[in-house]
C-alpha cells in the first residue's frame, strides 16, 4: 500500500497493462445449460468468431476467467453452478446470458431459479430469449468496458444505468486502438 502512495504512476501503468491483458484474453468456461448454449456455440463458430477478440472456451473452470451462464438455471443445478464459480481463480466475471439465467425468464415456476444473481454475483445481463450472437458479443464488449472501468478505480456500483439503447452503427475500423480494445 505504501508503495502505491509513493509512485502511484508506475502502479497505474502496471494496472493499465494488466487490465489490458485481462480484457483481451477472456476465457469463458463452457457451461451450456439450455437454448442459449446453442447461440453461445454459434458465437464461437465461424460466423461470429470470438477468437478474434482472444476469447477461447475452456473446459475446466480452473483455467477460465469468465462464466457465461447460458440457459435456464433450475434449483437442482444451482449448487453445482456455485461450485463451478467457486472453482474459478480470481479475477473472475459472470455474464448472465438470456432471460432465464438473468431473472428466471419465462419460467416463473416451482423448479426454476429466478435469476442466477441470487447465488453468484453477475456482472453483465444480456436480455434475449435467446440473445443473438451479436447481442452476446455486445455483452462481452460491455464486460470489457467494465474491466477497463475497474482499472480506473470505479466499482460497479458507480457505473450509471445505461441510457436507452438504440440501434448503433458499426464502429469505424480506424477508431480501434492499435492495442485492441
Amino acid at each position: 500500500m505504501a508503495v502505491k502512495h509513493n509512485n502511484g504512476i508506475i502502479l497505474t501503468t502496471v494496472e493499465e497493462v494488466l487490465s489490458w491483458g485481462r480484457r483481451n484474453s477472456l476465457w469463458p468456461a463452457s457451461v451450456g445449460l439450455a437454448c442459449c448454449a446453442i447461440e453461445m456455440m454459434h458465437t464461437a463458430a465461424s460466423r461470429f468468431d470470438t477468437d478474434r477478440l482472444g476469447i477461447i472456451f475452456r473446459g475446466s473452470p480452473r483455467q477460465s476467467d469468465v462464466l457465461i451462464v447460458a440457459g435456464t438455471v433450475v434449483n437442482k443445478v444451482a449448487p453445482m453452478l456455485k461450485l463451478i464459480y467457486d472453482q474459478m481463480p480470481d479475477p473472475k466475471w459472470v455474464i448472465a446470458m438470456g432471460g432465464c439465467s438473468s431473472a428466471g425468464g419465462p419460467f416463473p415456476t416451482y423448479a426454476t431459479l429466478q435469476g442466477v444473481d441470487r447465488i453468484i454475483p453477475v456482472d453483465v445481463y444480456v436480455p434475449g430469449c435467446p440473445p443473438t450472437p451479436q447481442a452476446l458479443l455486445w455483452g462481452i464488449l460491455e464486460l470489457q468496458k467494465k474491466i477497463k472501468a475497474k482499472k480506473e478505480g470505479k466499482v460497479w456500483e458507480e457505473i450509471p444505468i445505461r441510457e436507452v439503447p438504440t440501434a448503433s452503427q458499426p464502429i469505424p475500423i480506424k477508431e480501434k486502438s492499435p492495442l485492441g480494445f
Partner: protein, 200 residues
C-alpha cells in the same frame, strides 16, 4: 409415396488403408477450405442488419398521423397528444403474454372521463420475444424493433418504460418504416457467408 430403403455401409479397402487414402482425402478438404475466404463478420466493426421481421426490443409507436382506423375509433376515449404513445390501455398485450407480471400497465381516469396511460413497464428479462403481444395490439402501438444491443450491468436497466419505448419507436421508424418486407436487406454482409444469390 413414402418408400423404405436400407443404408449401405461403405467398406475401407486394404489399398486405401495402406495408402492412407482416407486421411489424404480428408486433409485435402481442409486444405481447400484453408484457401477459401473467411465467412466472419467482425462484429463491432461490421454488423449484420437484422431483417425487418426481427423480434428485438419492444417499442411504442407514437401518434403521428399514420394510425390504423381502429385507433381512430378508440381515440375518443383517450387523452393522447400528438407525438405521444398510442397506447390505449386495452391490456391486450398483458392478456396475450404467456408470462404473467411481465407487463405493468396503469391508466388513470381524467376528470373529463377520458383515460390516460401513466405507466407502461416491461421486464425484458422475463420476455420470450414470442411476439404474441405485438400481434394482440389493436392500434399498432406495441411493436418489436431491430434493437438487440441491450446488455447492461443492472437488472433495473432491462426494464422498459413508456418514454424510452417512444424514443425507440421513433428511431426505428425513422430508419426502417417504409422498408419492403424482404428476408434481409444487407446483401453485402450476408454474401460473405452465402456467396452471390441471384434474386428473382
Amino acid at each position: 409415396m413414402v418408400r423404405i430403403k436400407y443404408v449401405e455401409r461403405p467398406e475401407l479397402t486394404n489399398r486405401e488403408r495402406i495408402l492412407f487414402v482416407d486421411f489424404i482425402k480428408g486433409m485435402k478438404i481442409t486444405l481447400k477450405n484453408l484457401m477459401k475466404k473467411t465467412v466472419t463478420t467482425a462484429f463491432p466493426f461490421e454488423k449484420l442488419t437484422p431483417p425487418k421481421r426481427f423480434r428485438g426490443t419492444h417499442a411504442h409507436r407514437v401518434k403521428n398521423g399514420k394510425e390504423p382506423p381502429s385507433f381512430k375509433v378508440i381515440e375518443k376515449f383517450m387523452d393522447i397528444e400528438f407525438g405521444e404513445s398510442r397506447c390505449v390501455a386495452c391490456y391486450m398485450c398483458m392478456q396475450a403474454c404467456p408470462v404473467p407480471f411481465l407487463f405493468n400497465i396503469e391508466a388513470i381516469q381524467l376528470p373529463d372521463g377520458r383515460k390516460k396511460v401513466v405507466r407502461f413497464d416491461m421486464n425484458l428479462l422475463n420476455c420470450m420475444y414470442c411476439g404474441l403481444c405485438t400481434e394482440a395490439c389493436p392500434v399498432d402501438c406495441l411493436i418489436m424493433t431491430d434493437i438487440y444491443e441491450t446488455a447492461s450491468y443492472h437488472r433495473a436497466s432491462c426494464v422498459l418504460h413508456i418514454d424510452d419505448m417512444k424514443k425507440r419507436s421513433i428511431d426505428f421508424d425513422r430508419r426502417r418504416y417504409g422498408e419492403p418486407d424482404r428476408i434481409w436487406i444487407d446483401d453485402d454482409q450476408r454474401s460473405k457467408l452465402w456467396g452471390q444469390i441471384k434474386w428473382s
